[in-house]
C-alpha cells in the first residue's frame, strides 16, 4: 500500500514551523559567552515556553518554598544554569508530535532520537567541532527520524502494512519502506526539513542518515556524526543486526571492539543528558 505522494506533500506543507525560540536558544546556549539576560529575553518572548519553565520550577521536583512568578525571579531563585538547562529541554522537546500512532511507540522513538542527538553532539566535540556548531548535531539527531513519525501519524494503515512486511521478511526498514510505501522515512524527513528551511547540512543529514556510501559521508561531518551515532545506539540494542560501514569506522577512529567498549561510558553520558532533556516532556 504505497503512500499517496500528493497527500504527503500537502501534509508536509501544513506542518507547523520549527519553533523560533527553540532555534534561538539552541544558537545562544551553544556559545560559551551565552549571556543570561539574552537567554531571559528569548524565553520571555515565547509565552508558551515561559509558562512551561515556570510550571516546572514551581513543580514538586524543585520543592521550593515560595512561588516563582517570572523568568527573572526564577533565575534569581534557582540560578541561571538550571534555568538554561530547563529552557533548552522545554524548547526542543516541544517540536515533535508525541501522540501515539499506528503501532509506533512514539515515546521510544523520541527517546531514541534524543539519544542519537546527544551522542552525535559528543562525537562532534571529540572530532574538534567548535562548540558554536555542535548544537546542529543535537538537532540533527533529534530530527533524523521525523519521517517515521510522520508516516505513522498520517498514514497509519500504510505504516502497519509496512511493519508486517518487516516482520514477515528479512528486509531492512529502508528496503521495506521503499517496497511498501514507495518512499523512505529519510526522504520524507528531508521533505519536512526543506519545509522548515533548516540549514542545508541538516537537510543533507536527515536525507542520508542511513547512507553507507563514503562519498556522501566523508565531506559531510554532520551526516557522518548522526549516521554513526544512530548505528552505535542501535548496535547496543541489537548487536547481531548491525554492521558499521568501513568509512564510519574510520571516522570513529577505532576498531569496532574498541568502539563498543567505549560505548558503555558514552551511554552513561548520553543517559544523563537525555534524562535532563526529558524532564520537560
Amino acid at each position: 500500500m504505497p503512500i499517496d505522494q500528493s497527500k504527503l506533500t500537502r501534509l508536509v506543507e501544513t506542518l507547523p514551523a520549527f519553533p523560533e525560540s527553540a532555534q534561538k536558544i539552541i544558537a545562544l546556549t551553544s556559545r560559551v559567552d551565552c549571556s543570561p539576560k539574552q537567554l531571559v529575553k528569548i524565553i520571555e518572548h515565547d509565552p508558551v515556553l515561559t509558562m512551561k519553565v515556570l510550571k516546572l520550577v514551581n513543580s514538586a521536583y524543585f520543592g521550593l518554598s515560595r512561588e516563582v512568578k517570572s523568568v527573572n525571579h526564577a533565575v534569581v531563585y534557582v540560578g541561571i544554569n538550571t534555568i538554561k538547562n530547563l529552557a533548552i529541554s522545554v524548547a526542543t522537546t516541544g517540536t515533535l508530535p508525541k501522540q501515539n500512532a499506528a503501532g509506533l511507540d512514539t515515546r521510544a522513538l523520541w527517546y531514541h532520537s534524543l539519544k542519537v542527538g546527544v551522542l552525535a553532539k559528543i562525537l562532534a566535540e571529540e572530532h574538534g567541532t567548535p562548540s558554536t556548531q555542535t548544537v546542529n548535531y543535537f538537532v540533527g539527531g533529534l530530527l533524523h527520524d521525523i519521517g517515521r513519525l510522520l508516516v505513522a501519524h498520517f498514514f497509519p494503515d500504510e505504516y502497519k502494512s509496512m511493519l508486517s512486511h518487516i516482520n514477515a521478511s528479512q528486509d531492512s526498514i529502508l528496503e521495506s519502506e521503499a517496497l511498501v510505501l514507495g518512499i523512505t522515512h529519510a526522504e520524507i524527513g528531508a521533505m519536512v526539513s526543506e519545509h522548515w528551511q533548516l540549514p542545508a547540512e541538516l537537510q543533507h543529514c536527515i536525507r542520508h542518515h542511513h547512507s553507507t556510501q563514503a562519498e556522501l559521508l566523508v565531506n559531510a561531518p554532520l551526516t557522518m556524526a548522526v549516521n554513526a551515532a544512530n548505528l552505535l545506539i542501535h548496535l547496543k540494542d541489537e548487536p547481531e543486526k548491525i554492521t558499521i560501514p568501513e568509512c564510519i569506522l574510520q571516522w570513529l577512529g577505532a576498531p569496532v571492539e574498541d568502539v563498543l567498549a567505549r560505548l558503555t561510558t558514552l551511554e552513561n553520558e548520553v543517559d544523563k543528558a537525555v534524562s535532563f532533556i526529558e524532564i520537560a516532556g
Binding site: 518554598s65 527573572n72 534569581v76 534557582v78 541561571i80 544554569n81 538550571t82 535532563f276 526529558e278
Partner: protein, 294 residues
C-alpha cells in the same frame, strides 16, 4: 552543640606540605548535640576521619545532610567506615535532582559502581535511609532541628540551619550570592535589583543573629570578577552576609585548592586589617580539625 570542621577545601583534596595548617580535605562538617546526636554536613574526603572517630562508640547512629552532589561534597562517602558496620544507622538527607531527575540513592549508588569502587551500595552493611529535603521544611534529629534553604550554585544547593537549645548554626554549602544579570542602563535592571534584594533579605531573615555560620569564600575580591557565575562566594560576599544577617561568628571555608598555607596567612592578614568589617561579627578562616562549641 559542638561543631568540628573535617574538610575545608574546595573542588579537590590537596594534601602536602603547603596545606598542613589549613588542611587539604574537601568539605565535611561534624556536629554533636549535647545529647550526643551525630549530624554531618557533606561527604567530602574529610568524612573519612570523622567516620574513624564515630566508630569508637558503636553502634553508630547519624544523620548526614548533603548540600549538593558535586564531587567534592560526596567523594569521601565510600570511605565512611560506619557504612560497613552492621548495626550502624545512617540517615541521608539531600535534594532530588530535578534536572537529571535522579534521587540521592541513585546518585550515590552510581558513585559506588563496581568500576569505581570494590563494594557496591547494596552490599553496605549499615542500615541506610535516603530522604529528600524540601525547602524550609524542618527535620528533627534528636534535640536539633535542621531546616534547608536553597542557595544559588550551578546545581541545586541547600544551605542547612541547625537550631538546638536556643543556639543556631548555619552552613551554606557552595554558594554564590546571585548578581544582577542586567547592565545599569537596561530598564530591567531595577526590577531585577528588587528581586535580588528580596532573595538576599529572605536569606538574611532566615539566619538572623545566627551564632555561627560557615560560608563559601573560595575567591578573593580580585579573583571574583573572572570567576563570576562559577557558583562560589568570596571574602566580600561573606562580609556582606555577616552584615545583612548580623551574624555573630563567621567562618570562611571552601578554600581554593591552589591556596597554600602561606597565601591563606597573607590573605588573613589583609582581611583582619580591613576597616569595613562589621563590629559585631567575629571572622576567621576555616581550619581543618578546629571545633566550635555553642
Amino acid at each position: 552543640m559542638k561543631i568540628t570542621l573535617y574538610g575545608v577545601r574546595g573542588s579537590i583534596p590537596v594534601p602536602g606540605k603547603d596545606t598542613v595548617k589549613y588542611g587539604g580535605n574537601t568539605t565535611c562538617i561534624g556536629l554533636e548535640t549535647p545529647e550526643g546526636d551525630q549530624i554531618i554536613f557533606d561527604g567530602g574526603t574529610g568524612i573519612r576521619v570523622l567516620g574513624m572517630t564515630l566508630i569508637k562508640q558503636l553502634p553508630v547512629k547519624c544523620a548526614l545532610f548533603i548540600t549538593h552532589t558535586h564531587w567534592d561534597h560526596i567523594q569521601g562517602l565510600p570511605f565512611f567506615t560506619p557504612f560497613f558496620i552492621p548495626g550502624s544507622e545512617v540517615n541521608i538527607y539531600g535534594s532530588f535532582d530535578p534536572i537529571y531527575r535522579k534521587d540521592l540513592k541513585t546518585i550515590l549508588s552510581n558513585q559506588m559502581e563496581y568500576c569505581y569502587f570494590p563494594v557496591r551500595e547494596c552490599e553496605l552493611n549499615a542500615q541506610i535511609q535516603y530522604n529528600h529535603v524540601i525547602e524550609r521544611q524542618p527535620i528533627t534529629v534528636g534535640s536539633a532541628t535542621i531546616t534547608p534553604i536553597l542557595l544559588n550554585h550551578p546545581v541545586l544547593n541547600y544551605g542547612y540551619k541547625v537550631e538546638c537549645h536556643k543556639k543556631t548554626f548555619f552552613f551554606t554549602g557552595d554558594y554564590e550570592p546571585p548578581y544582577n544579570i542586567y547592565d545599569p542602563d537596561d530598564h530591567e535592571f531595577s526590577e531585577y535589583e528588587t528581586l535580588l534584594q528580596q532573595q538576599r533579605g529572605q536569606l538574611a531573615d532566615f539566619i538572623k543573629h545566627c551564632d555561627l555560620v560557615v560560608a563559601d569564600s573560595q575567591y578573593s575580591s580580585e579573583e571574583y570578577p573572572s570567576k563570576k557565575g562559577w557558583g562560589h562566594g568570596s571574602y566580600d560576599t561573606c562580609i556582606q552576609l555577616a552584615k545583612e544577617a548580623q551574624i555573630k561568628h563567621m567562618v570562611m571555608t571552601h578554600h581554593d585548592p591552589l591556596r597554600t598555607d602561606a597565601q591563606l596567612e597573607q590573605i588573613w592578614q589583609g582581611f583582619s586589617s580591613r576597616t569595613d568589617l562589621p563590629q559585631n561579627t567575629k571572622f576567621e578562616l576555616a581550619i581543618e580539625g578546629k571545633s566550635f562549641v555553642l
